[in-house]
Symmetry: D2
Subunit: 332 residues, 4 copies
């Protein structure tokens, strides 16, 4: 071994994590810094995300898939409320499920508390009118209430609007969800779209037609002068990227939200200075969802000097942990 590499190994030893009763989440994250593998990556993620919570960073958040049915709705809404999200890119599914809860509906844990999905009977669920999302159940009747809400509170505001941006639709959704919640007697959590509305944060939803929200918009458009312009949101989003002093990307899951957050930098002179990715999609399939953020650097989506990390572990576990630890770190 050369002197040089020996020197290298005089610092930064693996010190072994401790797990103590009563420790805070921030203390746990600090312990992860003693470890390697996923724990080490998560510690690094907390470190980077704490920097991203600083005032100078414009934060773009990608929220994939089924994070709302899985129970991550409040974590994201709170980040919006506290000014930690400047642009949210998500799926029509998340907005659909967010709204279902905003108007009083609920998702439910599968009947078996743990590995329930293996014993679930999807045929029987179909008969009973229950949709399954892994181990979360949703009675289909909630979609009827969702449709009513859209047709009475959301779409009318757009009925004569002609072709509007998708972000305009999500803003109306947020307004309506907030209003319903403010009404007397409604005991429900206003959620993500409402929080974005109140914080005046744009919610982008590139594949909105790929959701029940989109299906309803399509049906409404058939009897009104209403349509959605697929390209119009690029103006505002690109503008946000262009004017960001420093830019950070928090990517939860993969798919379109991840790619849309990253590709924004292709039409901007700069790129992301910070990148944190929480995913369980494996990189070795070659798919974008599991790709490392290093790969994004080759495309110029991350600055060469950007701090970035990918944590390969269930995002329902790591997102609340990341947020609690980073908030503790910055003294919120």
């Amino acid at each position: 071994m050369s002197e040089d590499s020996r020197e290298t190994f005089d610092h930064d030893p693996v010190a072994h994590a401790e797990a103590r009763a009563g420790m805070t989440v921030g203390e746990l994250a600090a312990e992860y810094g003693s470890a390697g593998f996923g724990a080490g990556a998560l510690h690094e993620a907390v470190d980077i995300y704490a920097e991203m919570l600083g005032d100078d960073v414009t934060n773009f958040v990608g929220l994939a898939g089924a994070m709302v049915p899985a129970g991550m709705r409040q974590v994201v809404a709170d980040l919006l409320r506290d000014g930690h999200v400047d642009a949210l890119v998500t799926t029509g599914a998340n907005l659909t499920h967010d709204t279902i809860e905003a108007i009083g509906g609920h998702h439910h844990h599968g009947e078996e508390p743990a590995e329930a999905e293996r014993r679930a009977h999807d045929e029987q669920l179909r008969e009973e009118g229950v949709d399954r999302i892994y181990d979360v159940y949703l009675p289909q009747e909630h979609f009827t209430a969702f449709e009513s809400h859209l047709r009475s509170e959301v779409f009318p505001a757009l009925a004569e609007a002609g072709s509007v941006s998708i972000q305009r639709l999500t803003a109306e959704l947020g307004r309506a969800n907030a209003e319903v919640n403010a009404a007397e007697g409604v005991d429900a959590n206003p959620g993500i779209a409402a929080a974005a509305h109140e914080a005046d944060v744009p919610v982008y939803c590139p594949a909105v037609q790929d959701s029940v929200l989109g299906l309803q918009a399509w049906m409404y458009g058939q009897t009104s002068d209403f349509s959605l312009d697929a390209l119009a949101d690029m103006d505002r989003l690109t503008d946000q990227a262009y004017h960001a002093e420093e830019a950070g990307a928090l990517v939860v899951g993969g798919g379109v939200p991840k790619n849309f957050v990253l590709q924004t930098m292709l039409v901007s002179p700069d790129a992301y200075d910070y990148g944190v990715q929480l995913t369980m999609d494996p990189p070795q399939t070659g798919g974008l969802s599991g790709a490392t953020l290093d790969e994004a650097r080759s495309w110029g989506k991350l600055e060469r000097a950007a701090r970035n990390v990918s944590v390969y572990a269930d995002a329902t576990v790591t997102l609340p942990l990341l947020v609690a630890a980073a908030r503790e770190r910055v003294g919120e």
Copy 2:
């Protein structure tokens, strides 16, 4: 053990696969039928897909992510040419990379034949103007040629069209790609969009703005009377689902293409009779991409009696194998 269950175990033993020099892919798939785990699932997939190749089945194909850069372009183009695809749902990325090759560009294997990605230097690639997609490299200069092609051959046909469906854009892309290929002196493979154009098969691309194709469309729209209607494609797609005698879904990878293929049945009185899914996304994350097709049954996207199977293995391995074996089975 009861008599009943003993009876059960008189049939269907695991017989152990053989691997012989010179055997055909169809013979290999038959051997998989002797095995369990992924091999057994792949055998079942061949069985189902061979039925789907019959004349009465309307086939909806979802093609996710990076399947074109990964080399699956010809397999899909050939299925289109031979009448085995009735609706294709894919990503803007796949159409972008498909077109880059149609006009003479190329993707390249990473320099290291095998686990090259681990040694790759994404920073250096950035300096050299090379984009990385796992172990596939793409010189960025091809995006300039792609832009020229769009601006000279594709977009002008839509310049005065106002708001058009996304499928209209993909159709013009297919026409242009075919024309360029028919021109003298061009030595390139026309590919997926061109094959769809020639077979008159609609190509749906719900999140088209989430791609370089979409970015170019957005920029073109800023100086012309051209925009894309996010909802307009639902008419034709829903119509296809409605009129299908029998419907089959071949889903390669997850994301929007998978969900869009499946959700179509939410607004149709019927559902899929056949479902084959090739993916390596893990179901235990709860994400849609890795979800079993059984889960889709609880939503009414698959018929209760549908034949369906999920093969959890790299789709670049399983797709060509599935197609070759099913084609052999039906005597093509």
Copy 3:
């Protein structure tokens, strides 16, 4: 929807996790209970493990692979010290790396804090005499010190012992590691084997020959009257299972430690009453490492009424979290 299923859905709604600055790990785990997917499973795991920490439960712990190099050494040592492990099944690799640290060696974080492994140069590491374990580095010189320790402090006690059980070897290792640590001037953490020695907990290591510890034992045996009996440990382990009032299995990772913990119940009249598995191996490969604990129930390794859960997420993240939260729950 029937009245019955409606009734079902009156309870147990997904309530959405909160992530607050300063919350304890136990509070975070409680929030996970509001969520689904992996978070819900981890909450269930904390619930079960808190029960397992009760006095009447005999706890068998399986610790796979590279958990010591990854920084999980102290968590396990503390569990041993506090009486929460009655039998530990692990790998020769873990014991080797545990001992290297006990005598003053260190593992090191790879030079790049995060996704370092992708830029690592294994050829160069080879030249520099550094072994890589994902993102953890180990200078090979530590193996020389390890060999000296074995030959001076451990093996001599067995030189004339003839054929001994593997557990006897691990006990001598623990004794020697503890003694070295008690010696003046040594500033190192005694670790797992030492803690097991001090708590008089047997450490089983079925595939000990599959490690550097095993290689050294083999070489020592060639010049002494010392050998290891592969079967002798079954007496004590089976005895422990037989006499357990209630039995719990905490399985961290898969492989031999997982299977050996579980199979013990094949020769016992009873089976596990509690099972918690932390793994990131996917179940859909069919391998034992990722298999659900439900599968173990079909073999009679778990009681029919056992409480069990599998958490599919990086164990370096979930193990400290599980332990801290369960300890907080039981008021340690």
Copy 4:
């Protein structure tokens, strides 16, 4: 882009795989060479394994976990018969299930042809006396026949042997399995242990006690002068590594078989010249099972110039494909 890198990109374009009816497996593997991701890796694996089938290469094969129940028994037995295996490292589970079939027992496909495991009722299986291995079922009564076979045909040859190597036990098992098969009226496939016996290939099984075979050996040893020496096999295995002109490692799955094949080179002056790994364990967990073979190079287990590749896809799919294609390539 520099001239240099431009030059790089004049060669080796992704050419796109074709999937034709009637093509051979070797032709399919050649098509994979046109693709990237897993298909490209599998093509490389065929290329390397075809070289490994040459006369000068000593082949060490690691066969993990549940490959025999999954239906890979004949592929491995045929490789043994044809001289393509010089040392086999496997699990007690594989040998147990191999023997169950050699004496007339059978594994069975789960009742549901495809995603059956999700509907399986492990509690009911327990009641019916059926063990489940993912989607493969095994009636427990076969274990009774297995015990009789061991006690009448295998163990008596070792009753007075004292402490023997594990390889001696597996050799007696192979002999007995072959003899039972040669007996009149037995209609069963002799399998792996028998093929190894007939080809005089040693079968190593480091964690034999971690299996039903091991449990039976332990019980037999309690009433006879028989025990297993955990370390004795290292002599012969190391000798094989030492005398190999060229050495190749074919690693199917992870765990002890993988590590034991690789670590052999730690006590040999040379290292592997060829390495092919078929696995679906993800590398990003940090576990040995999913680790790349590059990592093994840092330990000196592979030659710096070795050709090596890891294929991340279900091994029940890729093993038969690899073997058939490589056999076709070398003209067997």
